[in-house]
Amino acid sequence: MNTELKFTDVIAQSREERRRKHDLSKFEYSYKAEITSVHRLTDMESLYRIRIIDELERNAFAFRPGQFLMLEAPGIGEAPFSISSSPSAHGDVELCIRTVGNLTSFLSKAFRGMRVGIRGPFGNSFPLEEMHGQNILLIAGGLGLAPLRAPIAYVQENRNLFEKVAIIYGAKTPSQILFTFQHDMWRKDDIELTIIVEKADQSWKGPVGLITKILEQMASERTAFFDQNTSAIVCGPPVMFKFVCNMLTEIGIPMHKMFVSLERRMHCGMGKCCRCNVGSTYTCLTGPVFDYWTVMNLKEAI
């Protein structure tokens, strides 16, 4: 076990965190953006490609994998969405959105060129820099693949910096599997991809069951992922966290190397409206990414 503690670079951190966070006039400022294309993924989910219109703003827009933004359709509403694309594309972002509420129903009727507002990026991110030189296990349930697509893109672009990388993805039915157009590309970038569905149909040839089934299998095979040099990122519905994270703990991944991204209601994204509080922690400021140790100690987090 590595017992050496890590040096924290506070100067670099503060440099990153200034900018938008302290300017009163930026509180309600929205970048104006337009929807460049809507890519239908399934019956319920679409991938919205959105571009900040102003070139300077677009280039200055920088986010880290795991962060979210607030998307606003004037008169309809505003809601948080995790950014589902590569950080290197700056203000050209992709959001994977399920039609479920007021704003998202409106967005499902969006057309190319429609103008929306963007605030952000908000929240913290998956500490991918700290994972350099490690194995990475990305575990997604359902729509949880959306926020994972940003770290996946980061891994693809920096493949040399990581050891083994695997995605374990569970979906309800084969028709609900997201980003099918990218699966081959991930595999070709030497990212192991395992998909399991809860309910199979005739065409489905892969495994059937819950995500934990794949983990059990991996554990019994003692694959290279189960040592101290692995970090895990887990994203999915609240019920999934407990089962998956407990299993990963048993397998031997340390709690501080296991990261989850929490979903909460948010009305501001800036630690003011309190809607996203877990216990007394703001998901929008301290999260949405938490290591499992922190989550375990937050009241009612999962």
Partner: protein, 382 residues
């Protein structure tokens, strides 16, 4: 006399663009003056002071608005320019002065829609300073605590900042009521966050002057430096007041106790009584949680983004799109409210978000009071 020129009594309006650097905002009033200055003045001078201020400024003060169901007078913070309407010996107001710095409904932005394009227009809804004539220490401390999260934290809130910066606060001493427990919450005296604080020491008023603006304004009335006898009288007044606190809350190790008792059945018992109506948040001087809603104007040429203060006790507070509710049960929501006030805020800012004004207990339709809830969580019999 130079001071009687009208402009002398108008307050400076702080425009937002002159205060965009939030770092100047952390404890905004602390740097105004290094030391506190004390003065005394005769009681009849107060009306003179008020009347001159009222000529050029908007004044908000405690006014009697009617009788409650027990026949006792009810008070509210109301805009007035008539000194005779002020009731400076008021007990407490049903509602805090919140609507002047955290309005229950507030426009965050409006949109002008033009074909497929739109323009966002942001207004912070404050165009002049307000004088608050007669805030009690608990309400001043409530502002100081709100400052920490709304101004001192990341993403300072301009809507609050511009109103807060434009408050001229004249504090007034109070008589502890049976439901007050501000002394337990460390909010019975205000150390900063006001411009001047007046204490009735019997024959005359004793005033603490904290800001240069207050010092300048006080030139319009006859004041003098306090003498030893005034000091003694002041201390006697404070001592008398402190004896009158009848309700106490034991906050020793409260953050830890709340953690330990997180699964306690006590919460369920309180939750069974709670109606989930949110009245407690409505009357709370430090509840700042909100929801945002957008509406399209009737002419379809514009839209509005409106912020409404919300309560964590209301059922859909933590409900997400798709219907999942992270706090579906009343006792969980009630518990969450106590955790935010008495644990989370303490962890972040070293003091409770509750100032012990007791308004929530008075307003609660189910008769739930903070001292009782905390005593029961601590395992004390009440």
């Amino acid at each position: 006399m130079l001071y009687y020129k009208n402009e002398a009594y108008g307050l400076t309006w702080w425009r937002l663009n002159s205060i965009t650097d939030a770092n100047r905002y952390y404890f905004p009033f602390r740097n105004k003056s290094e030391s506190m200055l004390f003065r005394v003045f005769e009681k009849e001078e107060l009306k003179e002071f008020f009347d001159i201020l009222a000529v050029r400024n908007t004044i908000v003060g405690p006014v009697e608005t009617g009788l409650d169901r027990n026949g006792k007078p009810m008070y509210a913070f109301v805009q007035t320019s008539d000194f005779s309407r002020l009731r400076l010996n008021y007990t407490t107001t049903k509602l805090p002065a919140k609507r002047y710095f955290l309005p229950y409904r507030e426009n965050l932005a409006s949109f002008r829609v033009n074909g497929t394009d739109w323009e966002k227009i942001v207004d912070y809804n404050c165009d002049r300073p307000h004088i608050f004539f007669g805030l009690h220490a608990c309400d001043i401390n409530a502002l100081n605590r709100l400052d920490k999260v709304l101004l001192g934290s990341v993403y300072p809130m301009p809507y609050y900042a511009v109103k807060r910066k434009n408050m001229f606060i004249i504090g007034f001493d109070c008589r502890p009521q049976p439901f007050c427990f501000c002394r337990s919450m460390g909010a019975d005296t205000a150390l900063h966050g006001f411009d001047m604080f007046i204490t009735d020491i019997g024959a005359r008023y004793f005033v603490e002057v904290l800001s240069a603006a207050a010092y300048n304004l006080l030139q319009i009335v006859n004041t003098r430096a306090p003498e030893e006898a005034d000091h003694l009288q002041y201390m006697r007044t404070v001592e008398e007041k402190n004896k009158k606190f009848s309700t106490h809350v034991d906050t020793t190790d409260l953050t830890k106790i709340l953690d330990m008792e997180f699964q306690s059945d006590i919460w369920k018992q309180w939750g069974d009584r709670c109606l989930g109506c949110g009245s407690c948040s409505n009357v709370c001087p430090t509840c700042y949680c909100y929801g945002v809603e957008e509406t399209v104007d009737i002419d379809l040429r514009g839209a509005k983004k409106v912020k409404t203060l919300y309560s964590c006790n209301v059922v859909d507070f933590a409900q997400v799109a798709g219907g999942h509710n992270f706090r579906p049960e009343r006792h969980i929501r009630l518990k969450y409210r106590y955790y935010h006030k008495h644990r989370g805020f303490v962890e972040a800012y070293e003091e409770s978000l509750c100032v012990g004004c007791g308004r929530c207990g008075e307003a609660c339709l189910a008769g739930i009071t903070v001292p009782e809830v905390i005593a029961s969580v601590r395992g004390e019999e009440t």
